[in-house]
Amino acid sequence: MTVEKEINGINKKPQKPKDEVVIHASGLKKAFGEKEVLKNITFDLKRGENMVVLGKSGEGKSVTIQCVVGMLKPDEGDLKVFGEDVADMSDEELKQLRIKIGFLFQSGALYDSMTVRENLEFPLTRVLRLKDQAEIDKKVEEVLDNVGLLEAIDKMPSDLSGGMRKRVGLARTLIVNPEIMLYDEPTTGLDPITSREISELILHMQKKYKTSSIIITHDLECARITADRIVIMNDGEYIAEGTWKELQKSDNELVRSFFNETT
């Protein structure tokens, strides 16, 4: 584990105002057939902030972040990323936006016909169009070292455990230096110890790479470790918002029921 490692080689992103809103959503609605998944979603994500969306499975939490990267189009509402309306973007603009956004899938979504090294090289050669092999090798080794998996560089994804796959997935996402990170259930399917390690790694990487993040989860421990701010989603709407401590003291019975397990 490299969570405790010294933070070195911090990325050279230009400093931007901390209160800048990087994602603005208001009145988002999305339905699949008869089922209304998002009913009225409104939120702002500020630069450098970790926002956790907490809710039961099947509530449509992931749909929100899929709208952010343009995988899905909201039926109604306003969704702006870096001030630009995602719905109005051309394919090329969407591609440029996606380079600035990292998306960690629930399964890790590693390309299973490629080694770990090739998985990490893929975004460098296909997205950033890097040609210098020495530079590519350096970046791959650096980011793998950051997630503590340098020794797995030539392994196939099938040889990795669930936690290792998540870490490689995280490394592959971070290697292009995104400004926003979207995590879709990053600890689902992992044992409690590995879940905690992944949650700490997310926090560590956020500090190191200075990303703004939305973390979709139903894992309270993950939410407690990673969140600057938590929103609770229920039945397609955000019903409460606040820090971990604020929400623990909430008068709302449904909100309290989320925290009962750990208090």
Binding site: R98, F103, Y111, D112, F122, V127
Partner: protein
């Protein structure tokens, strides 16, 4: 009942529309720059080299069996010497290309359908897309172009091996030298036998790659859908092979055999 028919019709039309859009995306991405040469070469190896043994064995047996089946009829007509010619014409014009294409539909279309289907299920295609990479260029263009190139090559190899199978079958009952047999085969063929057969295998190859990629890329998210994509790819590609063959024979008849 009528409502069901309308829904089915609408679904079918939407499928056609989706395929047209998919073709458009494929075509645009061929010329989009940044062609994936290494993946293309890898696919050529996977599709071409790894199918060679299966195509070789099948066409060898078909050539062998065809001679054994034809011989009694031609002997009865006193046309035994026509055996090499009959085999060569039927094999080069029809049997070789179609058998090779059907074998490739079973092996290649299903494997592409299953591979892309499982990539879809495990969110690998989504991951490529949201990273800003181009999955059509990397996964689809390379596979379709590789099948379009390799199926004609496999067909030519299959033709040669099929004729060789016929030679061995003929030698069970009749003694004929290798050079005489191949001289008779080649001597009975002309340009109008080779060219249409080669051209239609290019379309067979394209259909196999396109159907495999389309079915895999558009499979639903669920493990069951991987099997459905693979199965549907084989059935649809096989059907397309016969449709293309029927059209090709009509065009060839108009152009060459009038």
């Amino acid at each position: 009942m009528a409502e069901q028919a309308i829904t089915g019709w609408r679904k079918w039309m939407m499928g056609i529309g989706e395929q047209c859009v998919f073709f458009g995306r494929f075509f645009r991405n061929i010329f989009a720059g940044g062609f994936e040469w290494s993946e293309f070469v890898r696919q050529c190896y996977e599709i071409g080299y790894r199918s060679m043994m299966l195509v070789g064995i099948t066409t060898f047996i078909m050539g062998f069996v065809l001679i054994l089946q034809l011989r009694p009829s031609l002997v009865a007509l006193g046309a035994e010497s026509m055996l090499p010619k009959t085999l060569a014409v039927s094999f080069i014009r029809e049997m070789g290309p179609v058998i090779t294409a059907i074998i490739c539909a079973g092996k290649i279309a299903s494997s592409i359908g299953a591979e892309l289907g499982s990539m879809k299920v495990s969110e690998q295609i989504d991951a490529m897309e949201v990273s800003g990479a181009n999955p059509i260029q990397y996964l689809v263009v390379t596979r379709i172009l590789a099948t379009t190139l390799m199926v004609p090559l496999l067909s030519v190899i299959g033709d040669v091996i099929g004729l060789f199978g016929g030679f061995l079958a003929l030698n069970i009952t009749d003694a004929i030298s290798f050079s005489l047999y191949f001289n008779k085969c080649i001597g009975s063929l002309d340009f109008s036998d080779f060219l249409p057969a080669l051209v239609k295998t290019i379309f067979f190859g394209f259909a196999i790659g396109f159907v495999g990629c389309y079915k895999g890329y558009h499979s639903n998210k669920g493990t069951e859908s991987v099997g459905i994509a693979a199965n549907s790819a084989v059935v649809t590609a096989s059907l397309w092979i016969f449709v293309i063959d029927a059209i090709a024979v009509q065009i060839t008849s108009i152009l060459f055999y009038r």
